[in-house]
């Protein structure tokens, strides 16, 4: 019986976090650009570059997760698969984000062409939203892991991604000195609303799973709230991701406070992805609760047995 999902580990969680963060940082900057909201060019350029770089890092984490990296191009070969669609969204987003980012840097001859930049930005937003939404549907395909309910995960992860995107933009503005822009003050207020919305969504998700879902989903909830993932849930998601950022709203809107708040929000987001990914345990088969030994324990026992054999062999050979 699984006590936590161990097939997709930290690399996959890192990919989900980075893709969501990168996509939504880009989407927020491109949206502000399209509606001509004042955010200085340095912050926009740095922010869109950060979005591109973080999404690219996510892509590298996804690549590292593959068992056979040389064949990674085959991932684009079957469009019926949600994974293929996700890989396509990521690839298109990275291309569009790279083109968009180039508009902000003077070394490119097309820099400053506002209309073209905004068209590319609009297309990039579409792929960014798709990139953020598909992981919920992807995990929802696991029929034996009822904790991952696709239709409930999509709004939760979309809200979480938007929260991390806003936090990322505010962090960039704080670092580049653009935190006094009126748009940042508005984004800061929207961030608070999203944090509160996310608390409600997480609570509703967990309570719904606890009451109505099959046995394995209730087991997942128990793992999150009081089992092996309780520290990452309570300290990572609840305290770092929500309570501390809310308290920091009483500390004013200085660049330092904004940066610290954003970092806490981002830490909470990373914990949310990791915890929800690991909590999706599989329906247990008859007799699986008798499987006392986990693979790691078996490996330790095998190593100990091998060592004993070697010692016996050395003793027999008179060494």
């Amino acid at each position: 019986m699984e006590d936590k999902q161990a097939i997709w580990g930290r690399l996959a969680a890192g990919y989900f976090f980075c893709a969501a963060l990168g996509a939504m940082v880009f989407a927020v900057i491109a949206f502000l650009d399209i509606i001509s909201s004042p955010l200085d060019g340095k912050a926009s350029g740095t922010g869109s570059f950060l979005g591109l770089a973080v999404a690219g890092l996510g892509g590298l984490l996804l690549l590292a997760e593959l068992g056979n990296k040389k064949r990674f191009l085959l991932v684009f070969s079957r469009m019926q698969s949600i994974m293929t669609k996700g890989a396509l969204f990521l690839a298109c987003f990275i291309v569009l984000a790279a083109i968009y980012t180039s508009f902000w840097f003077d070394i490119f001859p097309w820099a400053g062409a506002n209309a073209g930049r905004r068209v590319i930005g609009f297309l990039g937003i579409i792929f960014a939203v798709a990139l953020v939404m598909y992981p919920g549907l992807e995990l929802g395909e696991a029929r034996g892991r009822s904790f991952w309910n696709g239709s409930a995960l999509v709004p939760l992860w979309l809200t979480a991604a938007l929260t991390s995107g806003l936090a990322g933009v505010i962090l960039v503005a704080a670092v580049t000195g653009a935190s006094i822009a009126p748009a940042i003050a508005l984004l800061d207020k929207i961030l608070l609303a999203l944090i509160v919305t996310k608390v409600i969504l997480i609570a509703a998700y967990i309570m719904g799973m606890r009451r109505a879902a099959p046995e394995e989903a209730r087991r997942s909830v128990a793992t999150l709230l009081s089992g092996s993932l309780k520290n990452i849930f309570w300290w990572g998601i609840v305290v770092c991701g929500h309570i501390i950022p809310c308290f920091l709203y009483f500390g004013g809107s200085g660049a330092g406070i904004l940066a610290i708040k954003s970092l806490f929000v981002l830490a909470g987001e990373a914990c949310l992805r990791a915890a929800f990914l690991q909590a999706g345990v599989r329906v247990s088969l008859p007799g699986e609760d008798n499987e006392w030994y986990q693979e790691e324990e078996i490996a330790v026992l095998a190593a100990r047995l091998e060592q004993t054999w070697q010692e016996r062999a050395a003793w027999l050979n008179g060494k």
Partner: protein
């Protein structure tokens, strides 16, 4: 033609011979099993305790989530209903392992691909039985054409009220169990 299996849990004594035979047939390393035998129980109150064994091969689902989810087409459903993995196309993304509700797929770290029970389809094509069926001394395993009403497996399905594991998941497994 639709290959399927009926496992009579009333006959299985948990000798693990099928597990070992499968490992030998497919040249698997010691820690890798495509055909695990789980122990259910003991259940009840002493001294009225009962226990039985539960072999778990690939279910070769008609509506296989692993085939639907595979991004490369490495997981395929053959016309005869057997689900196979093309090792040359597998990229080792492990999504099939994640979506399989029966946990039958194994990641081969040295090759970087996922593999699983393929119902010894090469043996079936030559008119032989899968190695686990051939090895089982207590005749707990039966393999045959589920579409043929005259086959042994079809008769067992009717007579012994065999049923698949977790039908509510909608995967339509081709492996049926006769529960004790």
């Amino acid at each position: 033609m639709h290959w399927g299996m009926v496992i009579d849990l009333r006959r299985c004594v948990g000798c693990h011979a099928c597990t070992v035979a499968c490992q030998i047939e497919n040249n698997l390393p010691l820690g890798e099993t495509w055909n695990k035998v789980l122990t259910v129980g003991p259940e009840g109150d002493f001294p009225l305790l009962v226990s039985h064994f539960f072999p778990r091969p690939c279910m070769h689902c008609e509506d296989a989530p692993c085939v639907d989810g595979c991004p490369t087409g490495a997981s395929q459903k053959r016309p005869d209903g057997i689900i196979i993995v093309d090792g040359e196309r597998c990229i080792g993304c492990k999504f099939c392992m994640l979506v399989c509700p029966y946990g039958v797929r194994q990641f081969e770290a040295d090759k970087g691909i996922v593999q699983k029970c393929h119902l010894c389809y090469e043996r079936l094509e030559q008119g032989e039985m899968p190695r686990c069926v051939e090895t089982c001394q207590l005749k707990a395993r039966h393999v045959g054409d589920l579409d043929d009403p005259g086959s042994e497996v079809a008769a067992l399905l009717k007579q012994a009220n065999a049923r698949p594991l977790y039908p509510h998941l909608g995967t339509k497994p081709s492996v049926y169990y006769i529960f004790p």
